[in-house]
Symmetry: C2
Subunit: 665 residues, 2 copies
Amino acid sequence: MGNTDLDFTSISNNNNAVEYCAQRVAIPPPQPFLKSLKSSLKETFFPDDPFRQFKNQPPSRKLVLGLQYFLPILEWAPRYTFQYFKADLIAGITIASLAIPQGISYAKLANLPPIYGLYSSFVPPLVYAMMGSSRDLAVGTVAVASLLTASMLGNEVNASQNPKLYLHLAFTATFFAGVFQAALGFLRLGFIVDFLSHATIVGFMAGAATVVCLQQLKGILGLEHFTHGTDIVSVMRSVFSQTHQWRWESAVLGCCFLFFLTLTRYISKKRPKLFWISAMAPLTSVILGSLLVYLTHAEKHGVQVIGQLKKGLNPPSLSDLAFGSPYLMTAVKTGIITGVIALAEGIAVGRSFAMFKNYNIDGNKEMIAFGMMNIAGSCTSCYLTTGPFSRSAVNFNAGCKTAVSNIVMATAVMITLLFLTPLFHYTPLVVLSSIIISAMLGLIDYGAAYHLWKVDKFDFIVCMSAFIGVVFGSVEIGLVIAVAISMLRLLLFVTRPRTYVLGNIPNSMTYRSVDQYPVAASVPGVLILQVDAPIYFANASYLRERISRWMDEEEDKLKSSGEATLQYVILDMSAVGSIDTSGITMLEEVKKNVDRRALKLVLANPGGEVMVKLDKSKFIESIGREWIYLTVGDAVEACNFMLHSCKSSSGPTKIKSDVAQDNNV
Amino acid sequence: MGNTDLDFTSISNNNNAVEYCAQRVAIPPPQPFLKSLKSSLKETFFPDDPFRQFKNQPPSRKLVLGLQYFLPILEWAPRYTFQYFKADLIAGITIASLAIPQGISYAKLANLPPIYGLYSSFVPPLVYAMMGSSRDLAVGTVAVASLLTASMLGNEVNASQNPKLYLHLAFTATFFAGVFQAALGFLRLGFIVDFLSHATIVGFMAGAATVVCLQQLKGILGLEHFTHGTDIVSVMRSVFSQTHQWRWESAVLGCCFLFFLTLTRYISKKRPKLFWISAMAPLTSVILGSLLVYLTHAEKHGVQVIGQLKKGLNPPSLSDLAFGSPYLMTAVKTGIITGVIALAEGIAVGRSFAMFKNYNIDGNKEMIAFGMMNIAGSCTSCYLTTGPFSRSAVNFNAGCKTAVSNIVMATAVMITLLFLTPLFHYTPLVVLSSIIISAMLGLIDYGAAYHLWKVDKFDFIVCMSAFIGVVFGSVEIGLVIAVAISMLRLLLFVTRPRTYVLGNIPNSMTYRSVDQYPVAASVPGVLILQVDAPIYFANASYLRERISRWMDEEEDKLKSSGEATLQYVILDMSAVGSIDTSGITMLEEVKKNVDRRALKLVLANPGGEVMVKLDKSKFIESIGREWIYLTVGDAVEACNFMLHSCKSSSGPTKIKSDVAQDNNV
């Protein structure tokens, strides 16, 4: 091969007045195995570099920073001012007025006694206020996790026949959700939540909201018996099989309140300053509804009411955790699934508001906070809590400054628990259903789905399959389908990477895809291909076939047009981020194939990792160091130089005999 | 933003004597949804474009081509010459001498009566000769699939207690293997085989070879009872718990033959022209061993022999297929797993030899051929066959020209079945064990494992986990672990893509990673980052954090060195092959973050698909079309121009006020 080892550094191209000094493609300096292992582990688990602030600090300072890491309240409390408190007080009272009716409603959705919804709005917000790093998150129960708890536990234990066991399993599930969330945070595995893509969440939320609304038909129509299934088919069958049981009083009341709530939401949406109208509406509905029932004695005419609520704070429930129960595995499974979904919502919400207010949320730290809050909750008669979007948005709009608004809310709930529970005796269930439906309608984001369809059809498919899976199957089925399709997409990207033919952008040394830039002109005698993904075992065979087909097509085209024959194949490796041994074998096979056609293979711009591996596997030796260029432009220039000097001398024969020698080896 | 919309096309940089005419980054022309769907389906399932030769042909020619597609013999038979036949005859006889003893040995390994090994070397090669497209593949049974059949079926049915049911299940498994293989071919799903990476196969084969050798301790030591487990622990326990049963006569005979076989292999390896020595050695061993036993009556002194073999050709076995059996699912599972492994070996072997001889193998067509061959085999008392490497290598070395060598081999086996089976009566089992061990030792490829370690540590881990899984667990466990780790690697690549800081290669407009090119110089005031993977939901959060960290580090560095402050962040998108809606959201967040720091975000060279999506999602509008450049060089030049003109005029304020406006929106 020595013959072709010309020094291209001295070539000067006359078309462009460029004097370029071709830099060889570098092989990065070798790194010790342990060092590179350490750095890649760090990138995988500590991409946010949480230890940076601990560097070069005295031990006492490190201790303080460590405490502040786990209890952010220690960091901001000393700087807390009365100004802040005024803002937090208003925000806290506003969210309490939303939290109390929502807490009762969602507890009903989870098939738990309503009082547990209030308990869950007391302890967890206090824990979060100490440990959480978001300033805008308002803690509480959420509809989707409540529904999931009801459907997953309800499959095993009937809540109305065996309420005590069901309640204990709900605490146990909450405990495991907390443990799982905290473990994800401690083990820095927060990226698992990332596998719920935006598209999945849009579809999943819309589906869950639909399902939750369907469940409310029970309350609205005043039905006593209802299906345990959550899919639309079972619910519709259940509703229409008992038309004679429908209660018109209940339905009329429900529709009125729903209209009222939707109207207030609409007003607040149009004028964000009037956010308090929709924030106060649920409590107003509860008060109005209760008064109405109390005055008209409607509870005796088919309107179901909440009934007796026990006075007093959260009773301890540590001894209720059912670790020995035969249903333990169900509780663990429920805990893990609801825990992940609650995390996904909570972290997404926290991150969105942090983005608005320009501060940072550490995902893993938040997971630890959520986990601790749920573990503490499970020991104090609370079920799963997270940071719901609706409540946090109200908190944000009400001008909260710090997590103190959560403390204010918890205090308001405490006062309710201690003194005001008898007031809810006459609250009609249908008002709670209206509150849930009105909250759920806000979760169906048609706009986002349309945006997905417009921008990315595949994301739309993921979104719709999550939606359809949830509505027609179950919440879990929808989730599993959507995650599976999302993963399939990742794998498909790697298994079927795109390859592009590049052409020269006029008056430049730049080469770009001829599909994207119709002005790009192909170079006679040279086929330039770009591979758009890492070359791995999963795509090596495909790329071999595809590159071979490109060469066939190019040769056919040139033959039919009678132009110059193909002489060089340049592979642009800029986008090949990584390669494995199957990929190197593929390149070796491509080289054999290219040689067999009496062409020459040239590489352009392989990256650092790729160069290291090509070097170690001796592929660089086999292709020849002089056939690897820093840019496609350099490679084309060298090829052109060879082509022209070959035409005038005995060049081509020399190259072909070289190739023939290669073949014989 | 109109203020900053300068026309950079007229900028000329004085440092480089380049007159460049900046071409705008193009958005590829929009494609109708159905057309792009069709083209991506075509790339996914027909990357090799099998219909190309059918284009523009009359219907009669299409029919002929179609027939030739499924029966390649129709294509090459008319061109067959006597010259070819002479070569094929020699090759066929050579592989027959290997096939007969190997067939008997592997049938024993599969716990089937030895005669079924001979049956399996008769019908399948004939089918393959008509349908296969490889000229060098020699068809027969293989050790790994035989062992897998024995271990998977043996878990359910004891072959010695219920031989008939076991046999029928083996046929049924073969039938389903054939159906599965043919279905993969018809459905163009051949890429599933690609998920067995080279590293997986090296480790898996070495593990399987070790396990098979361990199983032969039964034959070598002349043991009557043996464990059904295949893992090293069970086998060792079984061997050493019955030391009093060891037969020294058997062991001595076994070691002698093993030495002989290994020696012949060594000779043939050193001198490829003497390939026939190792090819003939197994048959020679069988003849020598049988003679020895016959003359010394060793069968009465603890040397087990094959015994009676039935004369006659394959009996039909269609009615034996146990579709109604309660073990049907076991048979289906066994069929699918052994079928995939057999395919992987057969296709890899066919492709390797085709590469040598410069012809093409169509993977999907080969799958159909393998499938048909096994379906036909399952109806004629054969069990799973494929193209084993050892036999095909002998075929290749013996100078075969076409698949006629398979027909010659089948004829030789037919003659054996019709007339010569009584000759195997005194063949000692220990000779068969030696033949298997000697063949298996060749499958343990230390060199390849060392190469993996040297080139790619991750591939080495995959390889070793396959090996350890097979040896200490079971064949299936090893396979599942290795495939899972390989997939994890793909996902890890996407979830944790690398980001590089780029610098300017001196005297050029080229920007490359400063890690790879230490000469690359950073540009003052400009941070250039390259993202090395598609931006998907799975890595969007990570990239947001990582880019933010790069900016922090750069700002810290500049602050401590007192240099110019950071003004521009350029994202080089060359290697971002694709983006989804989560990725676009991430870019929007990065833009907000950059704006908040009063910096300016600039994109360089986004690809076609990325541009389409950025356009549809209005991100291009939000960043400003004038901040997207064709190359990093253009982007840096524009930034430099802005920096310098800003210094001399009131520029910076203008930019900052622009940013401030953005923030307020």
